[in-house]
Subunit: 342 residues, 2 copies
């Protein structure tokens, strides 16, 4: 076998790759209601559906153990896994954890990882019900697979957004991205220093957003209590621009979002300025926000604004209008998946 000849993965992009790999798949079980293409697969249970999702984190790509405390890593891994269930408007119930364990990982390190996972499980009412451990030649690997449930008519897909719907997000964006940049900067600056004292003062919020993102189960609960049903929803993991395009692709619609309505935390702007990064780019393309983005009918405007829980950043348009960011002076910029061009 020769793996060195052939097409590089990068030439397809992640979405192209997933499309290529999943398009050939046949579904054989009548219980499979929805396979690839949303935050979770949807499986028929009669009145209810089962939601099923999996998420892998690899050392050196998704986390750096030189500054990522294992307790937080365990917490974050669970939040990421569970968020895909929440993004379908489901109740997460159980997770299983597969670990690839490298030689440098000690029993105490795994204890810390599990402590973090258990803390997240407790907060989210989720049970860790099993797993698998194998050795890993290089680096820690964590795969969390989660199941949850929803009544059949409660499930929210990416594909339900309609023209005029309002686009809502559950918190400010770009903070996790700047938190990562801060950690990377301090690691670079202090790499040859014997007793490093990283400078995080004033930016603690950014670290928390990167190292310990919170799942927004509470927002979904309030929406349900208020009788507000999102028409579409997605986990904001790849960045607002990319994830909004996913909603628009699945719903065959366009969108207009307004730059001055995109919430950006003060610490995010301050650090971005220090580091000569455009805070809007951090908010649009940074990724790892792990907030929810959803759409609701325009008729819900007053009700959703009154909750004070979400920011309304724009609205859904017809497909031909594309996905557009509107600047304060009224200019429209077409949003691409990973960048935006004027």
């Amino acid at each position: 076998m020769n793996n060195n000849k052939g097409t590089e993965i990068a030439s397809l992009g992640e979405f192209g790759l997933v499309d290529r790999l999943t398009k050939r798949l046949e579904q054989r079980n009548a219980t499979t209601l929805r396979a690839a293409g949303d935050d979770a697969a949807v499986i028929d249970l009669g009145n209810e559906v089962l939601l099923l999702t999996t998420d892998m984190l690899t050392e050196g790509i998704d986390f750096d153990l030189s500054y990522f405390p294992l307790k937080h890593l365990g917490y974050k891994a669970v939040v990421r896994g569970v968020n895909d269930i929440l993004a379908m408007n489901g109740r997460p119930e159980q997770i299983v954890v597969a670990l690839g364990i490298s030689a440098k990982i000690t029993v105490e390190a795994l204890d810390a990882l599990y402590e973090g996972m258990e803390t997240a499980c407790k907060e989210l009412g989720v049970d860790l019900v099993g797993g698998d451990t194998t050795a890993s030649m290089n680096g820690l690997i964590i795969t969390i697979s989660a199941v949850g449930r929803a009544a059949k008519d409660e499930v929210v897909y990416r594909s339900g957004a309609k023209e005029h719907d309002l686009i809502c997000i559950t918190s400010n964006l770009g903070a996790a991205y700047m938190g990562l940049h801060l950690l990377e900067r301090e690691k670079r600056v202090l790499k040859d220093i014997a007793n490093p004292k990283p400078q995080f003062a004033g930016f603690e919020y950014l670290l928390e957003r990167y190292l310990k993102p919170r799942a927004r189960a509470n927002v979904l609960k309030v929406l349900a209590d208020e009788g507000i049903r999102p028409t579409s929803m997605i986990d904001l993991s790849d960045g607002l621009a990319s994830d909004l395009r996913q909603i628009c692709l699945a719903s065959q619609c366009g969108a207009r979002i307004y730059l001055e309505r995109i919430p950006i935390a003060r610490q995010t702007s301050e650090l971005a300025e220090q580091m000569h990064i455009d805070p809007v780019v951090a908010a649009l393309n940074g990724g790892e926000d792990h907030e929810l983005m959803f759409t609701v009918p325009l008729a819900m405007q007053e009700k959703i604004m009154a909750l004070g829980l979400v920011d309304v950043i724009g609205h859904i348009t017809r497909e031909e209008a594309g996905v557009v960011l509107v600047t304060p002076d009224g200019e429209g910029i077409a949003l691409k998946a990973q960048a935006f061009d004027r």
Copy 2:
């Protein structure tokens, strides 16, 4: 953080590690019927249960891409994942796949991997319903998580074996282990040769058992049709000795198995002799057989023998008697998890 100080994982062993990590876990959902400690977690669906399991394979530990064709690897990964559902007497229905992809993996390589996964899914009537891809710094990583269903009273746990029950296995053992040894030998022998021609003639069966193990869904179907309900069951992945001990631990019983009844294929014995390996050690401790081992009441003896589908290798005893291998001359040898002492 310092991961280099502390207790080495190896000091606990895999089972000690899993015990340590899972004993602290609390279960909060009434739907969680059985968490860690069996082939799959068991989740309440009303009349039915959902079975949930996860399995990780890492390059360099679980497979060597220099001789493991990706098509077979995809096939094997699915069989391994699905086997854990079968070992609970469940019907596997859906899987999700998380991949960690290293730089050397091409699009064509992933196509081959997916082709193998799809072939296994087709044979087993399973749907691949979603997944996750991430980059990997070092080597390919595959996590398969599987769900399946069973009627509540159909589930077979490890813990149901009773004194006098017969111990059955679905095929000969040690073949996959010798297949792996053959592949490793040819790799060593041919490593500096420009146009290597590995010598596999006469041992093709061993390669197939290692590279493309078959799930034994057919045997479970026949048992169900014949009204034979196993009292306990496990996937033979760690080796007969270790897996039989798992049954005995969970069922609080002992076992006597008879050396001359353990089926060993002719090719297994021949290669073992060539390579100065005791074929009985290969059968007892080799692992990766991916056959099913189950127990049935003694009253089923005639019926199960008449099927001609399984080998009866011994019977369950009281716990005090321990787990014992009986040699042809009647000597009893206590079986340890990974080795056996005279």
